[in-house]
Symmetry: C2
């Protein structure tokens, strides 16, 4: 089989630093984890928070700590560091080769969409951001790795896209459309969702916006592992 | 401008775990670092070494430690942990937004190729792997970020590809060919170099093989940051 992970990310309009931090790291027993955090507010302060959270999580995952424990630890660390006054959302999506499953851990009110072929559902349960309470608990879902599975999650920039002009984003129906018929790549799905969100904000995103798409498909082609990053920069 | 970073990676033939570890991480002041380590021998033992080295480096970079100091620290840590008996190569390529430069740090006898348009050179100086001596020193080169720049580095699987049958790999001339005329993506360059190496090993790589390509080009298209991972898996 083949796993595709794609991320598309824009900053809030006219803000140079994104409050969202995202890293993809190898797990000690094979597999990968994608970690996304969105710190409260935007700009430099939010970036410092989300980086701190993501760093904490990836350093624990690297030691073999389970995802849920890593999320709890990140929450406690943020609570201690900021006295419970600053929150951050956190999503961890792991391809766990030991359990042969995809583990989805979240402290984020934004939904996680899971599709088997074109049948899209939002995972059940409500979860809260980390950092503001002592006994923060992530919601954890475990899905078997199987061909045809697509998982999508995002930061709240996507949730609230279009709110300003009263034309809210419907990520679920757009994803369902994209999964009908043609086999679209994870990157195309991420790009299309983000593009829609930016358009609903009239091209000027109201908040930092990150979309992550994870897709399982039959192995087509070679055995090469690939990673590709595209980063627009402004040296001005 | 736009930065493209592409990685293509295969394992040694019939070995499920690669001794090469590669991570791409955000730097605290913006920009990215790519960290590649290749642990001595192959398989599980080599993986543990290269993971340890890469983890050490990325955790220091996350704290704002300079690349050269992070490489020295990783060397000392490996030396201490393994009593000087185990070596690892290490490459760090950073897009440093503070100095507006690309910083190339290496403890690796394998060359780093740097091209301005189609004019390919290997960086000068010899560097040794880390872990076997107390006073390990990385070689550091700093290049201004400018359009038309391509940087390529790789693990020794690529250096020694084809040695078995006496038809050695010439990465420099292949890169030079690829850069003539058409504007190829970083991913296409990485894929082509790796593909050539695998073919020279008759489709059965003699060693783990990782190729990293970093390219600076004029900004074409949108302001979206993208990350894409493709991972072939075998659930056996």
């Amino acid at each position: 089989m083949e796993i595709q992970i794609a991320v598309a990310k824009v900053n809030k309009y006219a803000v140079s630093e994104s409050g969202d931090t995202l890293e993809v790291v190898e797990r000690p027993n094979g597999g990968l984890s994608v970690v996304l955090a969105d710190g409260q507010t935007s700009g430099r302060g939010a970036k410092a928070i989300s980086m701190m959270v993501v760093r904490k999580v990836i350093s624990l995952l690297a030691e073999g700590v389970r995802d849920g424990a890593a999320a709890r630890a990140a929450s406690d660390a943020l609570f201690t560091e900021k006295g419970g006054k600053v929150s951050s959302t956190l999503n961890i999506a792991s391809l766990d080769m030991l359990t042969k499953s995809i583990v989805l851990t979240r402290n984020n009110p934004a939904p996680i969409l899971v599709a088997h072929e074109a049948n899209v559902k939002a995972l059940e349960g409500e979860s809260m951001p980390i950092g503001t309470q002592r006994n923060s608990r992530p919601l954890i879902d475990e899905l078997p790795i199987e061909s045809g599975l697509t998982v999508v999650f995002y930061s709240d920039g996507l949730v609230h896209a279009g709110d300003r002009r009263g034309t809210p984003m419907n990520a679920r129906s757009l994803l369902s459309e994209l999964l009908q018929g043609r086999e679209e790549s994870a990157q195309l799905i991420a790009d299309t969702l983000l593009d829609k969100a930016v358009k609903l904000d009239d091209g000027r995103p109201v908040d930092d916006c990150s979309v992550v798409v994870l897709k399982v498909l039959p192995l087509i082609g070679d055995n090469v592992r690939r990673l590709n990053v595209r980063l627009p920069i402004n040296l001005g």
